[in-house]
């Protein structure tokens, strides 16, 4: 946990203090998804959260977004407590979240039109964004007529057009093939470098996390997990993601962080196997 400087607590774009989330089970019991999460994201920083499956990564993001209320602890955004949806954040979901009954341009302009911007203005702005993400000839298509990569580009435009201060991304590219994914990561990084937005990026792919981020946060294994480590990624920017995996600094950081993550991943694997065995017995 080494921060180069410690801004006043009110300056963090996202600040989770001692956040615990407990979910009720249908049987009447309950379980902890995450426990005692402390997460501080400064404005303009790119922070990735990496953890084994089932470690509650999405829960953390949903708390930061205001879609979930923590059972304990507080969530602040730019000094303001988050009640209900975090108005300064956009969210990119892992699944397809475009409205299937709206054309590409209607999907992209949705955030603006709902905020009361006139349709003509919203369309102009949407066209600019569609051009930026390389979809200017697809404005009138419906989402089901696009490839997976194109849908993600549309989602990027949809999330960025409202000019949020924070971008919350939940494994946004996990459904894409490796090549498309690298291209999308590159484009994302480019967009982000031109902006001053804070990004909280969730992934289970350590390569992706190191390549993109300023900071990588590692979550522990299993239910009720918490932050077990935080690493500063000081690879200089701008980075070229297509070659970064050969960078000696990248290799070194990868070895160091993987050493920690490996422990958690194998814990998850062990407990899954034990459960299977006890089920079988």
């Amino acid at each position: 946990m080494t921060h180069p400087f410690q801004p006043k607590s009110s300056n963090y774009a996202v600040e989770l203090n001692g956040c615990t989330k407990e979910f009720a089970t249908p049987g009447g019991g309950s379980y902890f998804a995450v426990r005692d999460i402390d997460l501080k994201v400064e404005p303009g920083r790119f922070v990735s959260i990496v953890g084994p499956t089932g470690s509650g990564k999405s829960t953390i993001l949903n708390m930061a977004a205001g879609l979930l209320n923590p059972s304990e602890g507080t969530v602040h955004s730019f000094g303001e407590p988050v009640h209900g949806v975090n108005r300064r954040a956009s969210y990119m979901f892992q699944q397809d979240a475009l409205l299937p009954w709206k054309s590409v341009i209607d999907n992209v302009s949705l955030g603006l039109t709902m905020a009361g911007v006139s349709k003509a203005e919203a369309y102009d702005e949407s066209r600019r964004w569609l051009e930026k993400v390389g979809l200017k000839n697809f404005a009138d298509r419906y989402p089901h007529q696009l490839s997976g990569g194109m849908r993600k580009r549309t989602a990027v435009a949809q999330a960025w057009i409202v000019n949020p201060d924070i971008l919350l991304m939940d494994e946004p590219f996990s459904a894409l093939d490796v090549q498309t994914r690298q291209i999308m990561e590159n484009e994302l990084l480019q967009l982000w470098q031109e902006s001053d937005k804070a990004v909280v990026f969730i992934t289970h792919d350590l390569d992706e996390a190191i390549a993109l981020s300023d900071e990588v946060v590692i979550l522990g294994a299993g239910l009720g997990s918490t932050v077990v480590g935080s690493y500063e990624i000081d690879i200089p920017r701008p980075r070229d993601l297509l070659d970064i995996r050969d960078d000696p600094k990248f290799v070194e950081l990868h070895r160091e962080i993987w050493g920690r993550l490996k422990v958690e991943v194998s814990k998850t694997y062990e407990s899954a196997r034990e459960e299977e065995e006890s089920d079988a017995a």
Binding site: L67, V85, L99
Partner: protein, 287 residues
Amino acid sequence: MTVAPASKNTQRSPLRKDRDPAVAQRPKRKRSEASNFSIRMGQLALAAVVLGAWELLGRVGVIDPFFFPLPSDILLTVWVWISSGFVFPHLWITLQESVLAFLTGAAAGLVLGFLLARVRFLERLLDPFLQMFNALPRVVLAPIFLLWFGLGIWSKVAFGFTLVFFIVFFNTLEGVKSVDRVLVDNAKMLGASEKQLLRHVFIPSALTWIFSSLHISVGFAITGAVVGEYLGASAGVGYAIAQAQGVFDTKGVFAGMFILMFVVLIIDLLVNRLERHLLRWRPVRSS
């Protein structure tokens, strides 16, 4: 008339399939186009064989033309009813009743469906009562409606209303509740108010469910009108059928049936058109 809950269930599985683009796009386009013509010819042949056999067996006396009038006679009666203009006032009354029953029933079903799906408290409060009314075989309401609203069209409208309302209501409720969570969250993150959520997410999403119920509820609206007329009325196709039955005119009964059948088919075609327009964002299923 009590099939409403059952039909609600049977619609569910095919609808789900349609939503999945991978499944929906599977039909092989080329083959179906090539065989379209032969299918039509087969259908014509099938109809000709059945009607021909019916006619033939009637003429040689194997089946009694009193109970099963010859197709040619039925056709003739249909023609007489149409050419003399006898059937049109009746048809007009029946359609009026159906349209009114459909509009009021669908509107009430939609409003209450959306309301209960969005306000959990109301749903839990009203659920047992709605279940009770739905469990009631609706035909038994017809006599009481006749007493309340008289022999005119309003007793049939009320009867059709009870049929249409529950189908639309249950489908709307289910449609709104089954909206993809991610779509709602995404719209919320983009700043949607409750009203905007309804307009941009819930209503379009529930439309597929509502439309599958529209097909059935249009049919039920007409059923309600005809059955109501049959039980007691002074006009309408159901009344005409009841009159024909009263004088043992089976040809007239069958003629009324055929006319109703074609009217419902035409209406269903129009509903299909509307559905295709409103759901044009969905992946094309076939053809």
